[in-house]
Amino acid sequence: MNKLEERMNELKSTGKKALIAYLTAGDPSLDVSAKLLSALAENGADVIELGVPFSDPLADGPVLQASAVRALAAGTTLNDVFSLADGFSKKFSTPLVLLVYYNCIYRKGVELFCREAAEAGVSAVVVPDLPFEEAGRLDLAAASSGLINIRFLSPTTTESRMVSICKSSAGFIYCVAFTGVTGERSLLDPGMLTLLANARKYTDVPLALGFGIATPQQAAAAAAAADAVIVGTALLRQIEKINDPAEKTGAAGKFINSLKKAIDGAF
């Protein structure tokens, strides 16, 4: 069984909710990213979503865009991201999921990308600009490398598409809490509860809620409704202005720890 599925099942069987933490690879450097990944794993991240920096991230808000700009300015390449993943997965059992725009996969060659990602210890890919209808080729390539291609649901997903998406999903389903781009929001949208309740009718695959979760309180509220909580922008916001690597990893660890406690405390 895929490492991500194993971890999600394990949490489910103990009645726990998963914390999925996002980090852009190479922001501000590969060395610091490696330290940040360790800090996340050691402080309660159940799954790590590692972002492949892309020049044109059209699903991302300003914080994640700026992060990608820094990573690319530091010269981060796709091979660097794979090495970073490889180094991490040799030391930690925390499953790694790659957040990657489809052009980076397509350009590399869909099959080759999946093989190299799997060899680097990656368990799944999350592709924000690849809807279900266009996913056929990646699904096949991912499956033959033992990777999962994570599905998305959004508040605008129609019932009929939701059925198909749920039926073909594995690992977790990335439920977008808002129409919009990534970034913090002051309140969680009540519409997300409807989305989660509808999705539950069609699948047992864990539902992960992302977009807009910024505080431990919001994380706890999200965890009460979903099986997993994805935090990206808020984490980057905590650390983006800190230059000292030790302070940066310290701040990241502390923030993840506070989220993890809030999520666990919710039950």
């Binding site: 892309f54 699903a59 725009y101 052009n103 350009r107 649901l153 129609t158």
Partner: protein, 394 residues
């Protein structure tokens, strides 16, 4: 019936899940409107009595004589209301938006011609309009920024990336994802996710339909060669599409070679690009080995784009169209030449098509007819050209 959204392997819908429903609604609304006589009449009416169509097919006698070769005809899209072909698309889509009950238009713009067209459509139909524009383009097309604002639309500066058309489109798409239930995304070129490349092409095909009928009337036959500049490629696909079945007609799109195809500073996507995905479609793309979109350059803001419409990629792949490229310098020379020989100031974008005519016309006799799409007028570029001439004089 629903379209496959593909031109050969090109096109498709590479967008976030949130937009799928909006694209489905748009496709459904457009297909219904396309077959609805009342909608078509309303569109024809606005083209006739507001835009001022049909535009002239003008025989450029002095330019042809000067080049002492082929006969050059200009399809005068510069004579449209607002000064470019962009209005054909903007009004058609704004009518569609109105029919869909949307009250807010979101648009991206490069040279500002589409921004002006979208703002004009919004003023005419009493809609709200927000235009995203790269900061670099706001500087070099300042006149159009004023025009858009005077028309009552909001201009949002985009500083991300290179501050040009690509970044404006990213930002417009982000704004649309955020407000996709209320806003209508009025895309300005034949790019983007399905159904936009089809929708924009259909609306711009009025150029080619008129040019075809006018050629038959003027010459008693079809032209031998069609030329149009290609950035995203909407004026080109609008001219080309009605001629695709006419095998005797050679079709050439002209891309911006910037400072030269051998340099990194060009935006000749079909000449130098590889297959990739940008703004929701699979097409040719200027990118590096990792799939990062590379910075591009053209003196013309409207052509300064690392992607290209998927139907052009398809026409290239089946060999129905050829794509050439001309440099900034050649475009500027053509700009000056057309201005002085015919008293017509072309947009820098359109000057690329003229420049290729200048290049190839001498290879032919006057019996050969080259039809050039003069997609827009150059008022917006006068400052840029004056600055470049001044710099050259120093």
């Amino acid at each position: 019936m629903k379209d496959s959204g593909r031109f050969g392997i090109f096109g498709g819908r590479y967008v976030p899940e949130t937009l799928i429903q909006a694209l489905d609604e748009l496709e459904e609304a457009y297909l219904a409107a396309r077959d609805d006589e009342a909608f078509q009449l309303a569109y024809q009416e606005v083209l006739l009595n507001y835009v001022g169509r049909p535009t002239l097919l003008y025989r450029a006698e002095r330019l042809s004589a000067k080049l002492s070769g082929a006969t050059i005809l200009l399809k005068r899209e510069d004579l449209n209301h607002t000064g470019a072909h962009k209005i054909n698309n903007a009004l058609g889509q704004a009518l569609l938006a109105k029919r869909m009950g949307k009250k807010r238009l979101v648009a991206e713009t490069g040279a500002g011609q589409h921004g002006v067209a979208a703002a004009t459509a919004a003023a005419l139909f009493g809609m709200e309009c927000v235009v995203y524009m790269g900061e670099q383009d706001m500087r070099r097309q300042a006149l159009n920024v004023f025009r858009i604002r005077m028309l009552g639309a909001q201009v949002v500066p985009v500083s991300s990336g290179s501050g040009t058309l690509k970044d404006a489109a990213n930002e417009a798409i982000r704004a649309w994802v955020t407000d996709c239930r209320q806003a209508y995304y009025l895309l300005g070129s034949a790019v983007g996710p399905h159904p936009y490349p089809m929708l924009v092409r259909d609306l711009q095909s009025v150029i080619g339909r008129e040019a075809r009928a006018q050629s038959l009337q003027l010459l008693g036959r079809l032209p031998d060669i069609l030329l149009a500049c290609v950035g995203g490629g909407s004026n080109a696909i609008g001219l080309f599409h009605p001629f695709l079945a006419d095998e005797s007609v050679k079709i050439i799109g002209v891309e911006p070679a910037g400072k030269g195809l051998e340099t990194q500073e060009h935006a000749a996507t079909l000449a130098k690009g590889t297959h990739g995905i940008l703004h929701g479609a699979l097409s040719y793309l200027l990118q590096d080995e990792d799939g990062q979109i590379t910075p591009v350059h053209s003196v013309s803001a409207g052509l300064d784009y690392p992607g290209v419409g998927p139907e052009h990629s398809y026409l290239k792949s089946i060999g129905r169209a050829e794509y050439a490229a001309v440099t900034d310098e050649e475009a500027l020379a053509a700009f000056a030449l057309l201005t002085r020989t015919e008293g017509i100031i072309p947009a820098l974008e359109s000057a690329h098509a003229v420049a290729h005519a200048v290049k190839i016309a001498p290879q032919y006799e006057k019996e050969t007819v080259i039809l050039v799409n003069l997609s827009g007028r150059g008022d917006k570029d006068v400052q840029t050209v004056a600055n470049l001439m001044e710099a050259e004089a120093l």
